[in-house]
Symmetry: C2
Subunit: 340 residues, 2 copies
Amino acid sequence: MRLKNDLLIRAAKGELTERTPVWLMRQAGRILPEYRNVRSKLSGFKELVKTPELAAEVTMQPVNLLGVDAAIIFSDILVIPEAMGLSYEMVEKKGPYFPKTIKSKADIKSLHKVEDGELNYVYEAIRLVKRELNGSAPLIGFAGAPWTILCYMIEGGGSKTFSNARKFLIQEPKLAHTVLNMITESTIKYLHQQVLAGADLIQIFDSWAGILPLNQYRKFSMSYIEKISKSIANAPVTVFAKGAYFALKEMNNLSCNTIGLDWNMDINESRTLLKSKTLQGNLDPSILYGDQKYIKMETKKMLKQFKGHPHIANLGHGVYPDTNPDHVKIFIETVKAFSA
Amino acid sequence: MRLKNDLLIRAAKGELTERTPVWLMRQAGRILPEYRNVRSKLSGFKELVKTPELAAEVTMQPVNLLGVDAAIIFSDILVIPEAMGLSYEMVEKKGPYFPKTIKSKADIKSLHKVEDGELNYVYEAIRLVKRELNGSAPLIGFAGAPWTILCYMIEGGGSKTFSNARKFLIQEPKLAHTVLNMITESTIKYLHQQVLAGADLIQIFDSWAGILPLNQYRKFSMSYIEKISKSIANAPVTVFAKGAYFALKEMNNLSCNTIGLDWNMDINESRTLLKSKTLQGNLDPSILYGDQKYIKMETKKMLKQFKGHPHIANLGHGVYPDTNPDHVKIFIETVKAFSA
């Protein structure tokens, strides 16, 4: 299936496109009443993730309702630890919770690598979306970076300090690498299957990148991201490492096409540090709380700063849940009109 | 009262001291069994904060038990919003919780500036500690930066995204400045009283600095920190803005003596950007989870990087609650021996 709108893919490959492609992290979900409508009929978040028809439906919503230049498959980065043997619950308004966590070598023995045949519900959802899209926009597949997944497996949820995960790296570095390798191999298999099912681009989310110092980030995160990036030959790869400003310079050497910037990362500096990468981002998501004039002004300001560098417009983090969808549209339309 | 150990004060004033002074953020509290013993007899955290004799007792513990070069008064940054009219609860293992938060102009009308006569329990605790210290070490007083306090007043506690506080800045910038001004004036009064009571140095904690982009950080945080710093004439001032790597360059212009670095801030770069400031920090707190050899090695590595620049040794964040006090001692003793 040839893509009729391949702006995202061309920009990811380093092309200065005729206009800037635009999509939003977390676009499939919570901000749309149409999403909440689908969601309200279900037992919970996980039912939605595991029902391909419904996951496909909510994946399509932002394409049809907001006019973004890409779909991103509705799923969760935590399907990987779950498939490895650590089940999670999604607690309403609180986030994910793992009843069992990793504390010692014994806990690791019960884990297994993800095999073919697992996570088929994700691949099925991808196939359904591809059929539905019919080439009108590319579909983004994704996974969590191994370090971020490890954090959840150790902490059992979010954390203020991630001190348990940080302690694990210091006290059990070998075990940490064992689990990180298992996650990495599972993720590679998972992403290959996503590409086979039809994903046109892969994004790796390293949500907790910012809590490690550079030397640990290299060893415990970037090296695994590199393994994954290198293994994906048939689709461009984007890496979004939130808060990892200290690693941007070295990220220029990753085998990926695009680096996502959060809203605190300086665009000019990033252009210099990441000369060989397409850049994605990085409007502050709180700007969408402003009025039309403000959103337009700030969006234009951002676009100007990226001008002349391969760019995929996005927010600098996931769209906040209580953002007005009309404001998201203003952002999208401004990118389309102003970057042309 | 002349200080017998004034290393901290001289280092803060820019002196290259005969050895590096050392203390730890969060040293008064949770890591010491002696603290937990005092705490276990009380109804809660706030009883400890509001009972000068007990606050003084736990303030003295790390000086006597760990050998740090400074005491820091046991208290909480949230005594300011409480005195302004928003009471908080400290929920065990969860953190602070404000039953009432700020949402609109009406909520602000019920707030008032902190007046003389309020927060006397803090000043009384300071006087008791000063008597107890008898000049053996300086005493640090502190307050939260107005932006961090505003975050708590709006969010009602910690948050993953602080999207309510961020929305408030965008949608109600005037109201935000009104409250920030009230917090600032209250904090100035509060810190002046702390210095009058005997505090030898003042630290301002901007825990949520890292969630703002630079232009907002300037307007909504740094300008208020500057007002406070400028107003304190009789004690050196330290500013610790966690995550504000993007503002370090401009922080060189603040009217404070010392800038605290978190563990992700590059020491060499910070030395260049903050030429006219003493630097405080910045050992990664997770290093104290390591063994004796590792802690010594990493502490020496840090000290070497600061060599030749006025320096106060500390961690790059508060000590993690489950840190072994013996490991803290190794850190402190290594600083003392190796920097001499």
